[in-house]
Amino acid sequence: MNTQEIIARCEHLFEDLRFGAVKDWKAAKPGRKAIGYMPIYVPREIIHAAGMLPVGIFGGGDQLEVIQGDAYYQSYICRIPRSTIELGLTGRLDCLDGMLFPSICDVIRNLSGMWQIMFKDKYVKYFDVPQNYDDAIGGEFYVHEMQLLREDLGKLAGRPVTDQALRASIAVYNENRQAVRDLYAYRAAKPWQAPTSELYLVLRAGCVLPPEEHTALVRSYLSEAAKETRPQRDNARVVLTGSFCEQPPLSLIKSIEMAGCYVVDDDFQLIQSWLLDEVPVTGNPLEELSKAFLHHSTSTSSKYDEKKEDKGKFLLRQVKERGAEGVVFAAPSFCDPALLERPMLQEILARHKVPYTAFKYSENTGQMAPIREQAGTFADSIKLWSAA
């Protein structure tokens, strides 16, 4: 497949809100099971080791008309829970045998209980992660929580999840994460060759494909993209942050690029790059996953920064390492984690003289003109400053 064909395939997977790829995977072998997870992080290795397909559920996007889901939420709640409920109530998630709701915010947390009530025949779990990063405290808690998940999924699968299977799954995801890291590095080096609107689709494919297949897809995209010759523009290099849960519509990403910005880093699909280093495939697998989470994972606003000095460090590093000239804060409306974090990060950026701009969106935002205008003005101002 060439780049266009790869992207066309990813776009098809992205737009398929009936999750045909998941159904196909299940149909290929009787008894297979799929487990959905919401943003931002769950240890997919455990699901994979149970022989199940982890499926990322990131709301309904801008193609889904939300009718029933709106009846469950007030106007001041973000859109992702209502479109997720819509997906559930319209049978689109019937292919899932369970759902995991990670610790990200109160809305997703409460959705876990709603799911327990609304979809009683499914396995539902609120998956807590520690906000204490000591191995002996938060680590021990987290290992127990993972062990519970492992036991639950073992029961669902009809066979225990062995250490050996876990280690094998860690290895599979290590490869996947490395491929994603390579993709990000390539995009940062040559953003005109791997536009973010394409990178995004390649990443989203990882929500529904088995990790082995996704890794191959990423590798294949990287090799095909390198063969292309695309024009390099004098765009502003920006880091986009705040979009880790409810996703912006694809047209919004395209609008930012069309307005003169090269997105050289982002937090769209954090789960795929959450663990920053390779997780050892020796030793106790849950302990290794725990250590990776506690000591070598990404920073985002749903995680507590133990020290004041830690705040913004990760974002500044993204700016520096990716050679970004500015930061775009793009957060979903009513997103507590992103919007409460934003002023702190802005203060730090201002102190380091990194220009930034900010706007809000929802997954079904349709009016792109204001965003294009804002992003364009931001890109122009960066270019003017750097020229000065």
Partner: protein, 441 residues
Amino acid sequence: MSTPIQIVPGTRTPKKPPQVQKEDSMWLQKELINGNYHELATAHEMNRKVSATFVPGNLNELLMCFNFARSLPETNALQNGMRKKSGKMIMDAERDGHSEDVCTYVKADLGMMLQGQVGPTGEALPTPDVLLLSYTGCFTFMKWFELIRQKYNCETVMLHVPYQGDGKISKNMRDYVLKQLKEKVIPTLEKVSGVKFDIDLLRQYMRESAKAEEDLVWTLQSAKHKPSPIDGYFGAVYYIGPIFTAFRGTPEATKFYSVLRSEIAQRIREGKGPVTPEGEHPGEKYRLVVEGPPNWTSFREFWKMFYDEGAVVVASTYAKVGGVYDFGFRHDPEHPLESLAEYCLGCYTNLNFPQRIDMICKYIDEYQADGLLINSIKSCNSFSAGQLLILREVEKRTGKPAAFIESDLVDPRYFSAANIKNRLESYFQMVKQKRTATAAH
């Protein structure tokens, strides 16, 4: 016993001051709260360290062991809301870059800082020496203290309380909280205060807590009487004040709850209903259970909409936000740290949805309520996200009518009196019709 008193008018209100009635316990409560603000204002000159922490999962007895003066930012915000000061604070915070979408408690607090940190009573509040981040049942708490830390650079210690996602407290959850208490919280409090931890002192405070908790539960459950001698939402706000804030574990709180209990016992003997700001309740026509916090900026106006129609709130989930005591939990001096862990894990907003629904249904049944009213708060996703499902489920399970209104905690822009009044009146009509229909069958 109730005493009519004169409210001191604000400098800009030329209106005739209203007569407000309060029970003696309410005055005692006010005295305690105001006394605490004075204690905070003078803490540093008295060489005392100042802590700040949140209402759900607050470790008041533990903080007292280190002689901290204790500030609770939510209480500061709500007190400012009741005194009509929060609107400007919120707008100041928004002008300072905070989103209009986020919690107004946070913005009222940050706005208060921008205005020179003058507290609700007019005395300047000190910069905290330690932020005890009890991350219990509310995600926003974490960001709130990160924001304050960024501003003041003060020591912060996190107590992460896992959520009861499966509807129970596991050993793992309890051990995790306990370990944090022992290895993180206590050493930090020792370091900041310079005071060595004394577990016997903690036990002593907890004995007081348990006594007060017993009387609080008795008071809240007195609403099972007909007529109810208390209002379990608007009135309960006064009752929970001391125990949910800086007084749990103090002899003052024990005294307060003992006085309160005697007052309520007297009201039961006399067959009286609750005291309202305008005197005796006009007569109980509707018994309601309320879910969600109240609006503070128009608290009296909001309450009046209920008692004018003869409605009494017999139980509320908000009265459990700083601790669920009515199902048997008490602070246990014999197992002080374990008991603190259990307390934090059991706070209302740390319960999962099925547990919250069970609790409301139980209240409707045990308090013989006519229905459920949800006051959905824009600021508070922890309470509000999913409340419409609670409404449906409770209606389905109890057969009692439920209604939904929307307001905010301390943002006066989100209190639409006419709208709320209309909805309440329609709801009371609905309850009446339902009763008539039930009687006819």
